[in-house]
């Protein structure tokens, strides 16, 4: 009896969390997908009715704006964060004296909530209060930086605020990855007379593939999840120019009493995320097993 208990104790301890995840995450994902096939408005209704909510969804101009913003924001956010984080990590890796202090400074923005980041950047980017006013006061009368109130450029202000917040975190992850590389390979490369940039490009970065993968997953989830940043920074943008699927879904469900439509948009968001993450996950884990 105690033998069985000893063998299965890990499973028994994990079981409650597993059940909770199965019900509250996956169970409710299926519930949402089911609701997206009904005519639910203010309260959920359970008579399955077909794909009319999806037809409505794909005929709304606001949904196309939201999707486009999602792709633009996610792509820029992930790429710029990774590039900036990698650059900072490589710089910090050069055995400089104040590395500890610099690392802390770059990592601090991550400690702020997106709401604080959004509010602070809203004031900085406001044409009448922030950067534009400051530069104009310095004497450059025709300086323009009104991206925040320009419907075409407002989405890039969200990228700026998001990158500022998260690149410190990416730097920390890459720094840990860099430090975990076997120093013998690098010493051998030095002895062969390989230049430092070549060492980085040819040896170190490729061997950090697992770090790239986990950073991509974390940044991707931050990008999809970004709701509070948008609400605080632009409130959905001039008009609805910076609307994203998350804010669209919230508005439809809670402000307009169209739960069925909002469930449809949530399901599409899930499918978009799965389409990107699942192949990446599969390829990374498969390579690992082959190693």
């Amino acid at each position: 009896m105690s033998r069985w208990l000893q063998n299965n104790l890990p499973r028994i301890v994990m079981a409650p969390s597993l059940v909770a995840v199965a019900v509250f995450v996956y169970g409710f994902i299926f519930w949402t997908a089911y609701i997206s096939g009904t005519k639910s408005k203010l309260l959920p209704r359970y008579d399955f009715e077909g794909l009319s909510q999806y037809v409505t969804l794909w005929s709304m101009p606001r949904w196309y704006v939201a999707l486009e913003n999602l792709f633009v924001f996610s792509a820029l956010f992930i790429v710029v964060c990774m590039a900036l984080g990698l650059l900072l990590a490589i710089m910090l890796d050069q055995k400089i004296r104040v590395e500890g202090a610099l690392r802390t400074i770059y990592l601090y923005p991550m400690a702020l909530s997106f709401v604080v980041t959004g509010t602070a950047w809203k004031w900085i980017l406001n044409p009448g209060l922030g950067i534009e006013k400051m530069v104009r006061d310095l004497g450059f009368e025709t300086f323009d930086f009104n991206w925040l109130v320009d419907p075409d450029m407002a989405i890039y202000t969200i990228v700026i605020a998001g990158v500022w917040q998260s690149s410190g975190f990416v730097m920390a992850m890459f720094l840990a990855g860099l430090r975990s590389i076997d120093q013998e390979i690098i010493k051998a490369a030095y002895m062969d007379g390989v230049s430092l940039p070549r060492i980085y490009l040819g040896i170190i970065i490729p061997s950090m593939r697992p770090v790239f993968f986990s950073t991509f997953v974390v940044l991707g989830h931050l990008a999809i999840k970004s709701f509070d940043l948008i609400v605080v920074l632009t409130g959905g943008g001039p008009g609805y120019a910076t609307d994203m699927p998350a804010t669209f879904m919230y508005a439809m469900a809670f402000q307009r009493g169209r739960i069925g439509l909002s469930a449809a948009s949530a399901t599409i968001m899930l499918m978009t995320v799965m389409a990107v993450i699942v192949p990446y996950l599969y390829s990374e884990l498969r390579t690992k097993r082959n190693d």
């Binding site: 101009p61 044409p127 109130v149 419907p151 008009g239 609805y240």
Partner: protein
Amino acid sequence: MKILKNLVIAVALTAIALPSTVKAEPKVEVLHWWTSGGESKAVKSLMDEFKANGGTWTDMPVAGGGGDAAMTALKARVLSGNPPTAVQLKGPSIQEWAEEGALGDLNDVAIAEKWDEVLPPQIADVMKYKGRYVATPVNVHRVDWLWANPKVLAKAGVSMPTTWDEFNTAADKLKAMGITPLAHGGQSWQDATVFETVVLGLGGNDFYKKALMDLDMKALNSPTMVKVFDQMRRMRGYVDENFSGRDWNLATAMVMKGEAAFQIMGDWAKGEFLAAGKKPGADFLCAPSPGSKGYLFNIDSFAMFNVKGVDNLAGQKLLAKLIVGEGFQKTFNLIKGSVPARLGVPMGEFEYCAHKSAYDMEKTSQIGGLLPSYAHGMALRGAQAGAITDVVTKHFNSDMSSVAAAKALAEAVKLSM
């Protein structure tokens, strides 16, 4: 001896029988989002009156989001089968909830207190579902007000405009002098507020009814609507550069400080002026928005939900009776800055703008000009109102043409049905 014994038995029997004849203790649990300073003072006046009449009040304030958080809490309570007794709901949400079968019935209180006689019929309709009362109106806010700074107007040599053409002339003069003509906050509900006053002013009461209440496709995509969007395009030129995302009270402050001349906002702006110590007539002017021959109302109300229990039902009836009663209507509206929904309340203690509002309300009610505001959730359900606001705010914040906007308006409304 025998008499004493009989007396004791009689008293004992009466004591046992007594609990069943005790009156039900009125009890309410009230869900609302009046959590700011002036608002919570106003709710407290209702709470005190209810308690003075022997009732128990359990307060359930849920702050934030203009009611979003409160509505989410309400959905949770209703779905779990334990709704609050009274909820601060307004406009078509009342009918939406009544359709889901969640509301109770107040018709016997209405008949006893003669509500049909003391409430204007347009307001009474909002409180009814299938002809029976399910909610009680607390106040009437007017949305189509034009607020102005008289000193700025005097400096520019303009007077309060009564048509949109006069407004445009005055605004051009002000802009040439370097004063922002219109103080505006670029949040979608504020864009919608300006839009509906333009619809009312340019199109008239009947056009407003056809377009923003009946959602007639021919009215939504009509030459008059194109003219409305043309005026909105002009208004875009009259707001200052930093209007995006500005809160409404900061725009009111611009008028107070003389940085801007006009603001188009509901009468809660009056509360801001009064709280800053400004006097109507001397420091600020109030007038119906240009061209308005109607009255766009925004009514706060309490809807009574389907609860069980003698105490809860007694509480609902008492609350409903008190809310429409003269005493509460006067006290609450003095604090909140709106006017009573009940007709005939003595207005001696109200100031000039409130007098004008109450007078106009009665007059327009008789000519069919007392209309629900679409921008403040009185005329349409959330889905349709939101669809219209999306198009209005997109047009205001881009260089969309008026013809395209009118077309998009009709399409968006059709899609949201």
